[in-house]
Subunit: 239 residues, 2 copies
């Protein structure tokens, strides 16, 4: 049975403007791979309502699970929760359970639960809250979409909460072999190998070091013995 | 007049599996911003023909310019050129101009121009070659799509070739101000500021340092005097 599929939607002008280098996608990709869930597509869109709505609808329909990051803070450009409500035609307002979390937190820290902070308690009807052990304001799950913060420490904590609840697949295993030949010399034998081991994914990642060409060949799959067989054959080809 | 728009399509299993952290998107985002071109969307897909075709068609139709990275090498998983031909319904085969480039290069280096390397001369009809000063195998431009290599040094060289040929807009300017208050205390005044300066983009990027909360407020736009006025008003609000 093929592994479950996932997609990620990164929301925020700061990635697209080049101000911030994405860290959440790289983190999530690694975590999903370990759990045997195939990250099949990523989209990055800006803080535009119609773009966010269209992207989450397309990804939610196509993949088993969707993760979003960004746009759930207290400021005027944090529009993700309202976009999710629109995408799934749910009513949205400040919800009592989320308000209670924030009220307790701000009381203990001596800050005011003002209108801006209350925006973080806007949760679509029927969504389940995702715990935020870092800064309290929750994420939420709506249909097959997990809506999470963009701040990396919070994003990672939310992923840690959500991942154990998902049905994983067989973990993706991999082995790699460095071949100190030009990729053009490797490609022919590699295609033969890929045809023989069609159940595996075989990638070639070229490099150039001190003027010499080479490539790291990475063989991925869920059957360790098959990967062993393929990498052994590959090593023989270039012995 | 609004600035020209661009999208990027990153092609490759290695980003989605978490093996490689993307560098090309971050580089391109910064370059486009400097040139006044708005990077409006990024998609990352794996080495699947139908996904690549669908994504490039959608992005090409919607944005002024599209950049792709990855999948134009000599190995069996390098399918980008064929996907571009399919997406724009063009014939594709080894093209004489590209073959000549490769033949000269491999003759000078003493390597054989074998079938695998010849795959890198497969260029759709009507596409214009993009120079590759690093490792010769060219990229190409088809319709409004610039098809480039995934290896960062080659990608960057190709961007340097293509960018001067594009119509830029007013460069995006920015100023930022660090405010050592919780984002929830900043959000209200910030929304007022954003409403007054609706022609600017005002973003808030929260941080936590030594237990204290703060946020960097970044104000972006194409009119330096307006940005000055907004950042001055912001500073007064939190003086």
């Amino acid at each position: 049975m093929p592994n479950p599929t996932a997609a990620m939607l990164v929301i925020g002008d700061e990635i697209l403007s080049g101000r911030t280098r994405d860290a959440n996608m790289y983190f999530l990709a690694g975590e999903l791979t370990k759990q045997g869930i195939t990250l099949a597509e990523v989209r990055i869109v800006g803080d535009e309502s119609k773009d966010i709505v269209a992207a989450v609808q397309a990804l939610s329909e196509r993949y088993d699970t969707v993760f979003t990051s960004g746009g759930i803070g207290p400021t005027h450009d944090d529009i993700t929760a309202d976009c999710m409500a629109a995408a799934f035609e749910r009513h949205i307002d400040v919800r009592d359970d989320a308000r209670a979390l924030l009220a307790a937190h701000y009381q203990s820290t001596g800050s005011e639960l003002n209108d801006a902070r209350l925006r973080m308690a806007r949760i679509p009807d029927g969504a389940a809250l995702i715990d935020n052990p870092v800064s309290v304001a929750p994420g939420f799950t709506i249909e097959n979409v997990h809506v999470m913060a963009g701040v990396p420490s919070v994003f990672q904590a939310m992923v840690a909460t959500v991942l154990p609840t998902l049905k994983g697949g067989a973990p993706l295993l991999s082995q790699s072999l460095r071949i100190d030949r030009g990729e053009g010399d490797i490609a022919g034998p590699l295609a033969t190998l890929a045809a023989e081991f069609a159940d595996l994914s075989i990638g070639s990642y070229p490099f150039q070091k001190n003027g010499a060409y080479g490539a790291n060949i990475v063989i991925r799959g869920t059957d360790g013995a098959r990967i062993d067989a393929a990498i052994t054959k590959l090593a023989e080809m270039f012995a």
